[in-house]
């Protein structure tokens, strides 16, 4: 017990406390000035805005993938099921260079897209693509077990009572999956907001346009502007806290809705 707590404090609590102590050295006005400077605001807007957009795409596409994997049988199903975890396992720097090579103007996908006039690499679209990549497993792996365990009888009941298949999906299945879907969305969002490795290669990193908040922290550090780096980090850390807290509450809510077996 004591060992747990002391190890935890050495590795996690002390470093985090250091971060908050450092931010307390700033006066509220300084803190506010850093956060509302044009470059910081734009970096936060890029990170949070694109992360939310990417997490929303993951929510929809993740649901489609889960449905295909759980409900249908098709050749290669087990392989694709395993492949979902690749973004978890692939080091982010590798994902970053791979996505850049793929979507660069001469890349396998970048070339046909460029012919259509769509530029992906080195634009905010590239950030969006990398954030989608990194978020896929979160939605799939949170929703998949819930759909698998869903009692088939409630669907059969709805269907035999005359509900159309679409009505059953919207009114019966979707509400049962809602906590898992929201959890997946939150986790994918949290991951995308903080993501660094897979984004910076494809982003272009143009200040105010395609510069993500974690990169701005790194830049401020390399300029020895520790106060600026700390202020941005504190804001992002607080958002992480809130998201974890919300996810834990969501899980409890989900458990209370499902009767114990």
């Amino acid at each position: 017990m004591g060992l747990t707590l002391s190890w935890l404090s050495v590795i996690i609590l002390i470093p985090l406390a250091g971060l908050f102590l450092k931010s307390l050295e700033l006066s509220p006005e300084q803190f506010w000035d850093i956060l509302t400077s044009r470059r910081t605001l734009n970096a936060l807007r890029v990170s949070f805005g694109l992360a939310f957009a990417a997490a929303s795409v993951n929510l929809v596409m993740g649901s489609v993938i889960v449905w295909a994997l759980v409900r249908y049988r098709f050749p290669g199903r087990r392989l694709f099921d395993a492949i979902v975890d690749v973004p978890f396992a692939l080091p982010t720097a590798v994902a970053g260079v791979a996505l850049t090579a793929l979507f660069a103007e001469k890349g396998w996908l970048g070339a046909p897209l460029a012919a259509l006039g769509i530029k992906v690499a080195f634009t905010p679209v590239g950030i969006f693509v990398a954030m989608i990549f990194i978020g896929i497993p979160f939605v799939v792996r949170t929703v998949q077990p819930v759909l698998q365990d869903l009692d088939p009888e409630i669907e059969e009941a709805a269907g035999s009572l005359g509900a159309s298949r679409w009505q059953t999906i919207i009114r019966v299945i979707l509400p049962s999956l809602a906590p898992a879907l929201l959890t997946g969305l939150a986790l994918a969002f949290a991951r995308a907001v903080g993501e660094y490795g897979s984004v910076i290669f494809i982003a272009g990193n143009l200040p105010n346009v395609s510069e993500i908040a974690p990169l701005l922290i790194v830049i401020r550090l390399s300029e020895f502007r520790y106060a600026d780096a700390t202020a941005i980090a504190v804001v992002m850390l607080v958002v992480s806290f809130v998201i974890i807290f919300a996810v834990n509450r969501l899980q409890r809510w989900a458990q209370s809705r499902i009767p114990a077996r």
């Binding site: 250091g18 249908y72 694709f80 982010t92 009114r171 949290a190 660094y196 974690p214 922290i217 974890i244």
Partner: protein, 302 residues
């Protein structure tokens, strides 16, 4: 939220017809028309292929684009070998530390009740959702030249930042939750009955742990170590902030990928990247095998 009820047909129609229709309806209650099924499968496969399969294939295609000889030559560079050695060392340190801690933490959380347990679990989870850059930043603030322990470290000539200890610390921080998270649900499910039996039969605490607890959770331990190791070897953001990028000294494999890529040495960058991609694939295969063992273990318990 009222359910609209649509009568599927007149009840008075012939019995046989009704029965056939009912059987057909039952089969159809839990599935969709064929066209919808094919569309859903196609969308899922296309999405996974574009966003997951192709990036993986691209790594190997670029790594071998100038032939196997160029690939092997890139990996035999002293810089590459130094990066591989450092990555293995850092992974060994952080997996070792987190294995010991993860066991103790999971044991404390699963087998005992104490105030602040939820807070402890939240703390353990935190590195999962904190930006890796922030994980690196906190150590710069502690051990950097202007950090809280900076001057003390300088006076005692101890180098943490821009050296192996800093990289190991940041990696340990980032991989902190894996072992504990893999074990907590497993140990909670197994409860304390077997341990209590062992203790009441006269076994000491340590004997109980090694003879009863550990064999019960061995697959879970392996599972946690596997994921912890994969993340430790592949960590980029946190390590990037604390490493200082000293060539041949503090560059791990992911950092070397970045450096080579920015220097337009694409074959070399993708050669290192391909090693990391293979690590990821091996990890996934091993994970699938372990998950089967874990499922069997749970099935045999009930």
């Amino acid at each position: 939220m009222t359910m609209q009820i649509v009568h599927s047909g007149p009840v008075t129609s012939s019995n046989e017809k009704t029965r056939a229709r009912e059987a057909f309806a039952r089969d159809n209650l839990r599935t969709e028309p064929k066209a919808v099924r094919i569309a859903v499968i196609t969308i899922a496969i296309t999405f996974l292929t574009v966003f997951v399969v192709l990036p993986l294939v691209v790594v190997f295609a670029h790594a071998f684009s100038k032939g196997i000889a160029a690939y092997l030559a890139a990996l035999a560079e002293p810089e590459a070998l130094a990066a591989i050695r450092l990555t293995l060392l850092v992974a060994a340190i952080s997996v070792g530390l987190n294995l010991v801690f993860g066991l103790v933490a999971a044991w404390a959380i699963a087998k005992f009740d104490f105030p602040g347990k939820t807070f402890l679990i939240t703390l353990i989870d935190l590195p999962f959702s904190v930006s890796p850059v922030i994980s690196g930043l906190v150590f710069v603030l502690l051990f950097g030249a202007q950090g809280y322990f900076g001057s003390w470290l300088r006076d005692h000539d101890i180098q943490i930042l821009f050296a192996v200890p800093g990289i190991a610390l940041a990696t340990t921080f980032v991989t902190f939750p894996f072992v504990a998270r893999a074990l907590i649900p497993l140990m909670q499910e197994q409860g304390t009955q077997e341990e209590e039996a062992a203790i009441s039969l006269g076994a000491s605490g340590l004997q109980t742990f090694f003879r009863v607890t550990l064999p019960n959770i061995k697959w879970g331990v392996l599972y946690g170590v596997l994921l912890c190791n994969a993340r430790a070897m592949g960590e980029f953001g946190a390590v990037s902030v604390v490493s200082g990028h000293i060539r041949g000294e503090t560059n791990t494999m992911p950092l070397l990928v970045e450096i080579l890529y920015n220097e337009y040495q694409f074959v070399a960058a993708f050669a290192i990247a391909s090693l990391l991609a293979m690590l990821a694939l091996i990890t996934l295969i091993a994970k699938t095998v372990l998950e089967r063992h874990l499922d069997e273990g749970q099935a045999s318990d009930h």
